[in-house]
Symmetry: D2
Subunit: 350 residues, 4 copies
C-alpha cells in the first residue's frame, strides 16, 4: 500500500478506524510558518462527523496533537507529526461484519489482499476517518498558501437531484455561498435517511491567485497530481477540470480560451474552459475542478452478500453512518487541492 504522497511535500498518513490513533507526518513546509491552530480546528470541524443533523452519530473530538515539527508554535524545518486519538469507536457494531464483505466497501478486495489479518473494523485503513489526517495536512497547506495570496474553496454542485450553479470560472466566490447544503439538498439527504438509503453528489473546487507555469508535465502536471490526491478520498469516482466531460460535445472554436490584455495589463483569457490548466501547467486563470462522490456504501437496507467461505447470505448494516458524505467531502477536496498546489509550488521554486 502507499499512504505516502508528494514530490517536494512528503506526506505519510497512518491509522485504522478503530486503532489507537490516526495521524500524519508532513515534510516540506518551510521553516518559519506559524499555523493558526484555531483556524485549523474550524477547518477540521467542517469534516468531522456528528456535526449536521443528518450526519453520522459518531462524535470524535478530532483535536490533533502535534508531537513534532514546531518550536513555540512555528515550523522549524522538522517533519510535522500530528495524532488524533480514536476515542469513540464502537467495534461491536462491526463484529458481525468481520465475516461478511459489505457491498461497495473495500472489505472484499482488502480481505483478499491482506488475508485474515486485515483489520476491517470500521473500514480499517480504508475508512473515511483517514480523511481527518488528510485534512490536518491540507489545512496547514491552505493556511500557508493563503498567506501567499492563493485562495482555495469548494462548493456543493449536486446532491441527488438537487443542483447548485457552478462557479463563475472567471471569478469564483471563495468561500462559496454553496459551501454547505441548500434546503433542497438537506431534503434529499433526509429522504435517503428515511429510506435507510444514501445519496451521492458532486463537489466543485476553485483556486485563485496561482502563478503561471506550476506543474511538471507529462506525469506530474497539475491534473495528474491533483487527480492522484483526490482519488485518495474514499468514494470519489470521477475528477474533471474546467469544462471537463462537457468538452466532449463542444467544438474548438467555442472551447478555446482566447487571449486578451486586461485593464491591469495582464494577459488573461476571455473564457476559462481550460479550468486554469493547459498542458498540465497553471495559466494563472482560476483553477476549477469537480469530483463525483458516490452514495455512501453503508446503508440500512438489506443487501445480498456472500461470506468469505462462499456462503450466500444477506446483511443489514447498523453502525452510525452518514446518508450523504458530500458535505464532509467539501473540506477534503480543499485539503487535497491545497496539497497538490503547494507541492507543485515548492517544486517549481517560484
Amino acid at each position: 500500500m502507499s499512504n505516502t504522497f508528494g514530490r517536494a511535500l512528503k506526506l505519510s498518513i497512518f491509522g485504522q478506524s478503530h486503532g489507537p490513533a490516526i495521524g500524519m507526518s508532513l515534510e516540506g513546509l518551510p521553516a518559519g510558518f506559524r499555523p493558526n491552530m484555531e483556524a485549523l480546528q474550524s477547518f477540521l470541524d467542517r469534516r468531522a462527523p456528528g456535526r449536521g443533523e443528518h450526519s453520522t452519530a459518531r462524535r470524535e473530538a478530532d483535536v490533533p496533537e502535534f508531537v513534532s515539527g514546531l518550536l513555540d508554535g512555528v515550523t522549524c524545518g522538522a517533519a510535522l507529526c500530528a495524532l488524533i486519538r480514536n476515542s469513540d469507536a464502537r467495534s461491536e457494531d462491526y463484529v458481525n461484519l468481520q465475516e461478511l464483505p459489505r457491498p461497495s466497501h473495500a472489505d472484499y478486495p482488502a480481505w483478499v489482499k491482506y488475508g485474515p489479518f486485515y483489520d476491517g473494523r470500521g473500514g480499517g485503513k480504508f475508512s473515511g476517518r483517514l480523511t481527518a489526517p488528510l485534512c490536518i495536512a491540507g489545512g496547514l497547506c491552505l493556511q500557508f498558501l493563503e498567506e501567499r495570496g492563493i485562495r482555495i474553496g469548494a462548493r456543493i454542485l449536486r446532491i441527488g437531484k438537487a443542483e447548485n450553479p457552478r462557479f463563475d470560472p472567471l471569478s469564483p466566490d471563495i468561500p462559496s455561498v454553496y459551501r454547505t447544503p441548500t434546503e433542497e439538498m438537506y431534503e434529499e439527504i433526509a429522504l435517503a435517511k428515511n429510506n435507510e438509503d444514501s445519496v451521492g453528489g458532486i463537489v466543485e473546487c476553485a483556486a485563485t491567485g496561482l502563478p503561471t507555469g506550476l506543474g511538471e508535465p507529462m506525469f506530474d502536471g497539475m491534473e495528474n497530481r491533483l487527480a492522484q490526491l483526490l482519488f485518495a478520498i474514499p468514494g470519489i469516482k470521477g475528477v474533471d477540470f474546467g469544462s471537463g466531460f462537457d468538452c466532449a460535445s463542444m467544438v474548438g472554436s467555442r472551447h478555446n480560451d482566447q487571449y486578451y490584455v486586461n485593464q491591469d495589463g495582464k494577459i488573461q483569457t476571455r473564457s476559462n474552459h481550460a479550468g486554469g490548466i493547459l498542458g498540465g501547467l497553471t495559466t494563472s486563470m482560476p483553477l476549477i475542478l469537480r469530483v463525483a462522490v458516490k452514495p455512501t456504501a453503508s446503508i440500512g437496507r438489506e443487501q445480498e452478500t456472500v461470506s468469505y467461505r462462499g456462503q450466500p447470505t444477506t446483511l443489514r448494516i447498523r453502525g452510525r453512518h452518514d446518508p450523504c458524505i458530500v458535505p464532509r467531502v467539501v473540506p477534503c477536496v480543499e485539503a487535497c487541492v491545497a496539497m497538490g498546489i503547494l507541492d507543485a509550488l515548492l517544486e517549481a521554486r517560484i
Copy 2:
C-alpha cells in the same frame, strides 16, 4: 518537469515535436519476455497521424528503433530504450507562431515557465506526438499482460453529438466494435473540418482478467495511478471510473454492487457500478473508466491572441492538424491503462 512515471515500472519519455527524435526508456519488464514487434507496430499505427481520411496530413513512419533491453528479441532485464526519428517535421509552419501563444495550447504557460529558450515548435514537448513513445511503452505492457490473461480495450463513446453505447460493465467486448468511429462520428469530424473547427469526445476503456486486490491506497490505488497516467495524454480534461459522474444522482441501494457466487463458484457482483475498483483495489470485476477529450486546440479559424510583449492580435493556425483526436486517443488510453495495471501488478507481487 517530470516525464517519469512508475513505482515498479519506471518510464522516462523524451523528445520534442520537432527535435531529432522522440523516445522512451522503460525499466521493470521482467527478463524473458519476447515482444511481438509486428503487433506493436500495428498498435502504434492506430495512434499514428495520417491514417484516417480526416486525420492530420502529417505522416511519420513511426517505426521505433530499440537500442537497448533486448537480446535476440527477448527482454534481458536491462532498460528498454526505443527511439522514433522525427522525419517529417515542417517547422516553417510554426515560425509565425513562435511569438504568439495559440489559444488552449500549452504555449503561454510554457513560455512563462521556461522562458525564451522554450522549444515551442509543433507544441514542443507538449505535443501529442509524445504519445508515440507512450504507446511504445504501453503497447509492450499490453502484450505482456495479454500473455497473462489480462485484456484491455477502449472504444469511442462520443464525438460531438454522435454517441455509442457504453461497455457492458459485466462483460465488455474487447476489442470493441466501437474501437473506430461510426459513420455518424465521421460526419461530426467532417463537419468540424469543413468549418475550420474541431470537435471533442469521450473514450471508454475496459480491462478484464484482473486479479483481486491490485492497487496501493491511499495515494497509489488504481484510480490514483490510472488518473495520473491518463492526464499525461494531451487534451484529457476528465477521468471517471465505473458509474463515474452518474453516481452523483444515484442512491446507495441502486449503486451498491451486491455479492453472489456464480456458477463457477467465484464471488462476483450483480452490477458493476464500482467499475471494478473499491477502496482503490481491483475487485476482479471488469475495470471500466472514461476520459473526456477536448476539441483539438489547433483550428483554422481566426482567433484572438496576444503577443508575449502584450500586443493584442489575431492568428490563424495553418499546419496539419486533426479536427478530432478522439480516434487516436483510443490506443493511448489502452497504453496508459496497461502501464498502470502492470505497475500495480509488479508492485503487488502476485
Copy 3:
C-alpha cells in the same frame, strides 16, 4: 529535508530531540507478521542512552507506543506508526548554545538552512536520539528477516586504538562475541571521558542467509541502498563493503573470489572480498560492511566558536553526552542493514 526512505518499504521518521515525541511510520511489512515486542524492547535497549557506565546520563524509557498497523498484535497491512515520548529532556542545558554553533555538530548549517526558527535544542532533528525510531523500524525488519532465515549482526572493530578481529567473511559469528566493547575499549572510552574528550571507532556488520540477486543496479544496488541508509546515522563518515578500502592495494588475482561447488552442491566462492555483493547484487555469500564513526562532537573541553552574528568566542558543552557512541551505533547499523535488505527483498519479489 527528507526523513523518508524506501522503495518497497516506506519509512518516515519524525521528531526533534526536545519536542513532545519522536517516532516513525513504516509501510510495506506484509500483513500477518507478529512482532515480538519483548525482543524489540531488548533491541532498543541496546541503543538507548544511560545503559553503560560511561554512556550519557540521560535516561529515557524509550518504550514505543504503537498507534497503528496492528490488530491483536499482528500486522494488518496498514502503516505501522510508533511513538516514543520525550520525557527526560533538559533543554536548559542547551539554552546558552542556542546562539553558538557547536563545532562539528549540524548547528551551523542547520541555522543557515532553516533560519532562526530552527529547533536546535539537543541537536533538534539532527540528534542521535532520532536513531530510536530508526531502530524501531529496523528492529521490526530484523525480526521479519530472521523468520525467513536471514540473520544480521554487527560488532565493534575499533574504538580509538583498541582493535578487534574482523568477521570471518566466509562464516561470520552472529550475534558476534564483539557486539559490546572489550575491556581495552572501555579503557579508551574512560580515558576520553576523563579528558573531557571523546573517541571514534569502526563498526562491522554481517548478514547471512541472503538469496542471490537482491538489489537493483545501477542506483539501487545493495551498496547504494545500504550506504544511503547508513549515512542517516549521525556521525557516520565512511562505509565500505567486503575488502573495502583495503582493495586499493590489492591485485586482482588475490582479490577475485573464485567459484567452486561446495559439498552441498551449492555454488560458493573460496574467498569473499566482494563482501557478498557483485554488481550491486547479492551473491549469497555473507554480506559484509563497515562504517566509520567519528568521535562524539560534544566534548567538555573549551572550544573556539563564533556567534551567529559573527562574534568570536569559546564554549564548553555541558549536557550529558556519550564520550563514545560506537557501542550504541552497533544496533543502529543492524537496523539500517535490515531495512535495506528487506526493502530489496520485497522489491525483488523473491
Copy 4:
C-alpha cells in the same frame, strides 16, 4: 533494477555493453543553459577506453548524439537524451564466457536474477561502459555548476603501492595536478599488466564554492546522496567523507573543526575533518570524499570457476581489459559528485 536517480534531477541510463547503443535521459537542468559540447567531449575522452598506453585496446568514438532537450544548442526545458552507438564491440571475445561466470564480475548473481535471458556479453548492463552516459549527464552538471562558481575535481590517491598526497582540505587544487597517474603509478599498472593481473586504487574528490545548507537529512543528506551515486560506478567498494575511516582512531578535541571568522568576515572552520558536511548538510567548507576502487575483475590469469550447471572448470579471460581502471574512474567520480550536488541545489532552491 533501477537505472534511475534523482529528486530534482531525474536521470535514466540505458544500454548494454554490446547492444546497439547506450545513453541517458536527464530531466531537471533549467532551460537556458548552453552546454559546451567541446568541453563535454574532452571530459568524456578522459573516461573513454583506449586512451592511455596501458588501457584497454577497445576504442570507441564515444561521441554522444543529443536527440532531445536542446533548441539551437540551448536547453529548452525538455528532457535531454543522448546516445552513444556501440561501434566496436567484439562479442566473439565473450562467446565462451556465456556459460562461465567470471570471478568478481556480476555474471553469476545477474544470471540467477535474470535467468538465461540475461545479456552478459561484455558485462551487459553491468559493464563499465555504462559510465559513459553517466559522464554525459555528470559532465553537463559540472558545466552548469561551474558557471555558478562551484568547482569539482578529483585526483588519484593510490594505485597499488604508489601513493599521492591528499587534497589540502581547506584549499584543494582543482583541477588537481594528480588527476592523471604519476610515473610510479604507471609502473604499478605496467607490472600488473605484465603479470596478466590487475590493480586497485583510491580516488579522492573535492568540491568548492558550495553554499551552506545543501542536503536533505536524514536519508537525502549529502553523504547519503553522493554515496548512492558513487556506488553506481562499477568496482567501487567504499566511500568516505572528510577524515573518513581515519576518524575512528581520533579524539574529538582533534577531530572537531572549530569556528572562526576569516579576514573576509566569513564564518569558517580551522580544520575540515568534516569534509564540508555536518549532519548531512554542506558547511561551505570544501567537500572532500574518497572512493575505493577494486582491482579490475577481468584478468588473463587462469581462474577457478563453475559452469551454471555446476561443473567445476577454469577460465582465462581474453578480451581487451584495463589492468587498472582508476584513471578512468576519476572523471566518473567528478560526474557523480556534480549530479549529487546539482540535485541537492535544485531541491534546495537556493
